[in-house]
């Protein structure tokens, strides 16, 4: 009898784990779709270079 209880516990744990893992993966999927929609994949040159430009001192004060 103990076996059955144990097995049931493991079963519910495994189902839980599966559900959680799909939720996590779903989070990444949403992040990806969001990125696509936002145009993150439209231009692969400008953003990585833009971040490297130093702002001139004047501008820093403005911000």
């Amino acid at each position: 009898m103990q076996w059955v209880i144990f097995a049931n516990k493991i079963m519910s744990i495994i189902i839980l784990i599966a559900a959680v893992s799909i939720l996590i993966a779903g989070g990444f999927l949403i992040a990806f779709l969001w990125g696509v929609k936002d145009g993150q994949f439209d231009d692969d040159f400008a953003p990585p270079n833009r971040i490297l430009f130093d702002d001139s001192p004047k501008e820093k004060i403005k911000k």
């Binding site: 097995a7 994949f41 439209d42 231009d43 270079n49």
Partner: protein, 802 residues
């Protein structure tokens, strides 16, 4: 790493554009510039504290030798024209998008996004580098559209504003949609595989049943977005094919997906097994991935340009006593229009004022400009090289000669060539259906009805021609990628196959075999003293005629004398007096009244009454042209079509061989007709290489039309592919590489058939378990992807491509 060239380079190259300027330099603060244009850009940037532009990349600019006329953008003040360019305006702010083909490095990015420092009226500017566009928001109170364009022009980024931008807005939705589909199918596929693992290994004995049940319904849930969203394009194209009575390759795929889904659903509901949803989702995912790789789009390159993109959008028209800018479409017959130096003439007209030096190279391929007298007709597409002229319009833009050429039928019909994949796919489908039928019949006769259904459905599932399609999509995708890295851009994957089938290559001469603006000068005659050189050069400097420029450059005289009573006889030559010496330069007719010599590219020189000699200007050919022609001659028939005179015939004959056809003085329609003749009468698969509008019809008519472009910034006519002019010498390698692609597809197709045979072995017996299907499907897909990738990389290396 230390850049050793650093010190050497500074000596004689322009600080702005990096061009060699040892002949003529302008110095400013220890910096050297090749022309005043470059210097001006530097000064503007220096004033606005934007010299980081020069720190990011060495000599990031582009040469500014051609000055932009001050009132060039006057037409932007015209409300109706400006309205077509503006994307959004609310009275205070205006949003506008410009296409800047000059954009090429991070310095450009830096400068364009900091443009508000030069023109404070600009509130924000954002660059889209892959599309070479800048999105600008400006305040209406502080600046105007015209001023924004002039600001951009002043720093060397003159926006390209053309009729085509206005009349059609590009659609860019497609690729995003496909990424969505890919993302969702990838997510579902990965999770279905994960949830199927326990099933594969039959873990957990008696737990299996209940957990398994729960997992199976999870899997079913996950497969729904795949079949109802990601896979829709297969169903849609298959259905469209059926409607047009055409069995396309998507049909067996759609069939296999539908059957797999139906059978899995049946198994799940009747609790007989777990179905093949894992295989199905994998197929959809890999197929979508393959199509994404294959259908790469070069967003900054346009293959569909028609004459409109070459034309200005506005031109000055005489109205109410003055010239005002007017949109080209609104020009009416009998309007008087003004054309400035170096401008394209947008409509057919009669010359009414000024001296016309018309460069028709764009339209007809003639390399030498023609002089036109008042009263003669000038066709649209020509470029005015001399001073300003006025024309009386005889035909509106929609009826001009060029537009008519474009409206010919060739431009309306799409080329249809049935790809090898579709042919194979047809046989393949037939064979699979036959095997399915035989196996089904066999089990039916054995009385095993259940096994019959099993066998029939699994055969269709296993034998879906996905592997065949995968091999072609991934091979083509990788070939396109490698070719584009080597600056040979193809419009569509089908062009690769067409390229492997050609057996006749037709070249255009002017601009294709011979670069524009580069010429070889041969001098025949007496020895010229340095003093005489200076005299000749001084007179030549007064003229803007291209031949004068070429000879002037050839003489490379440094000093200059004042020229008295200079006289220019249009189309003939020039003369002038220096210190009582009379210098006469020009055609044979002009200099020595010799009418026997045809109008061509010879410049005679006479000082006082003595003929000094003649400069013969020869076409100079593209670097490596002779070698590549020698190579191509071995495998293909060659022809040359030229709009120019036949002065170069002897050389070309010796180069191409006597069995090649060389045709001169061809107009655009004759070029088109020649290609058509080759295809119909001689049954040839023709590749045409050309560069100008005059080749546009022939490019469209040929099986593969390749446009040659000096730098992808430049504009090229509609074509199947664009080759960078510097890569011309590798043309034979590109063709060979494309041909090897077909072999790779065949090789991987054979491999995929092997996989199919293994699968079918189980399927005909009705014993294909989900486990075997789940192992077979991803391994076959993945190994085919790897093999096509590896083989195409190897084939590229073999041809010396990067």
């Amino acid at each position: 790493m230390v850049n050793i060239n650093n010190n050497v380079q500074d000596i004689s190259t322009c600080f702005h554009c990096g061009e060699d300027c040892s002949n003529k330099k302008i110095a400013l603060e220890e910096k050297i510039f090749c022309c005043s244009g470059c210097k001006m850009v530097y000064e503007v940037l220096n004033q606005s504290n934007l010299c980081t532009y020069y720190d990011l990349n060495q000599n990031p600019g582009l040469a500014q030798k051609i000055n932009v006329r001050a009132d060039k953008f006057e037409f932007l003040e015209e409300h109706s024209i400006a309205q077509k360019l503006i994307r959004f305006a609310d009275g205070k702010q205006t949003h506008v998008n410009f296409y800047l083909p000059q954009m090429h490095c991070s310095s450009c990015l830096y400068l364009l996004e900091n443009i508000h420092k030069i023109n404070p009226g600009i509130k924000s500017s954002r660059v889209n580098f892959t599309q070479k566009e800048v999105f600008i928001i400006f305040e209406n109170k502080e600046t105007t559209l015209r001023k924004v364009v002039e600001t951009l022009t002043s720093i060397g980024y003159e926006p390209h504003i053309s009729l085509q931008d206005i009349s059609s807005k590009k659609a860019k939705k497609g690729s995003k949609n496909r990424l969505f589909k890919l993302g969702i199918s990838g997510f579902c596929f990965a999770n279905i595989m994960m949830l199927s693992f326990p099933e594969y290994f039959s873990l957990g004995g008696f737990m299996e049943k209940e957990i398994g049940q729960a997992y199976r319904y999870f899997i079913l849930l996950l497969s729904l977005p795949i079949i109802f969203y990601s896979a829709t394009e297969f169903f849609i194209t298959a259905w469209k094919g059926l409607q047009n009575k055409f069995l396309n390759i998507d049909l067996p795929i759609a069939l296999a997906i539908a059957i797999t889904f139906g059978r899995s659903l049946y198994e799940l509901i009747s609790d007989k097994g777990s179905g093949y949803l894992d295989s199905m989702s994998g197929i959809v995912f890999f197929m979508l991935l393959g199509r994404l790789v294959q259908d790469r789009t070069y967003r900054s390159i346009s293959f569909d340009r028609d004459f409109k993109s070459f034309f200005p959008i506005a031109v000055n028209v005489w109205q109410n006593g003055r010239f005002t800018p007017m949109a080209v479409e609104q020009i009416k017959v009998n309007d008087v229009i003004q054309i400035h130096t170096n401008e394209l003439i947008p409509v057919d007209g009669i010359l009414s004022k000024g001296e016309a030096e018309i460069d028709y190279s764009f339209v007809s391929g003639e390399s030498i400009p023609l002089a036109k007298e008042i009263g003669s007709i000038v066709y649209a597409g020509a470029k005015q090289l001399g001073a300003n002229i006025e024309l009386v319009v005889v035909k509106e833009i929609s009826q001009s000669y060029l537009t008519n050429l474009w409206n010919k039928d060739v431009f309306k019909s799409e080329k249809h060539s049935v790809s090898i994949i579709h042919k194979l796919g047809k046989y393949f489908t037939a064979i699979v259906l036959m095997i399915g039928g035989i196996a089904g019949l066999y089990w039916f006769l054995q009385g095993e009805i259940l096994l019959m259904w099993n066998a029939l459905t699994t055969i269709l599932i296993v034998a879906c021609p996905c592997a065949l399609l995968l091999s072609s999509t991934f091979t083509n995708g990788n070939i396109l990628r490698i070719l584009s890295k080597n600056k040979f851009y193809l419009r569509h994957p089908d062009v690769i196959e067409d390229l492997s089938k050609i057996n006749h290559i037709v070249f255009d001469k002017t601009g294709t075999l011979t670069p524009n603006k580069k010429a070889k000068v041969l001098y025949e005659g007496l020895w010229i003293s340095d003093e005489d050189k200076i005299l000749i050069a001084s007179v030549l400097r007064q003229s803007t005629h291209p031949l004068s420029r070429i000879v002037l450059e050839h003489l490379s005289a440094t000093q200059q004398r004042d020229v008295d009573s200079f006289k220019n006889t249009v189309g003939k030559g020039i003369e002038g007096w220096i210190n009582d010496k009379h210098i006469k330069i020009g055609s044979a007719e002009f200099v020595q009244n010799d009418l026997s010599e045809k109008q061509g590219s010879s410049v005679y020189v006479k000082i006082d009454e003595q003929i000094i000699g003649v400069f013969r200007i020869k076409n100079s050919y593209r670097l490596g042209m002779a070698e590549v022609v020698q190579q191509l001659k071995l495998k293909y028939k060659l022809s040359v079509l030229s709009g120019d005179n036949d002065a170069e015939k002897p050389y070309l004959t010796s180069l191409m061989g006597s069995d090649s056809e060389l045709l001169f003085n061809q107009d655009p329609e004759e070029k088109l007709a020649y290609i058509e003749h080759l295809q119909k009468a001689a049954q040839r698969q023709v590749m045409m290489i050309g560069d100008g509008l005059n080749d546009a019809g022939a490019l469209k008519q040929s099986n593969v039309g390749i446009a040659l472009s000096e730098g992808t910034n430049n504009f090229s006519p509609a074509s199947d592919g664009i080759i960078d002019a510097h890569q011309f010498a590798r043309l034979n390698k590109f063709i060979a590489f494309a041909a090897s692609g077909q072999q790779i597809i065949m090789a991987s197709f054979i491999l995929s058939i092997l996989y199919n045979i293994i699968g079918l072995y189980f399927a005909v017996q009705g014993t294909l378990s989900p486990l075997i299907a789940a192992i077979l499907m991803p391994t076959s897909s993945l190994s085919i992807i790897l093999i096509t990738y590896g083989l195409s990389e190897w084939a590229g290396k073999k041809q010396g491509l990067q």
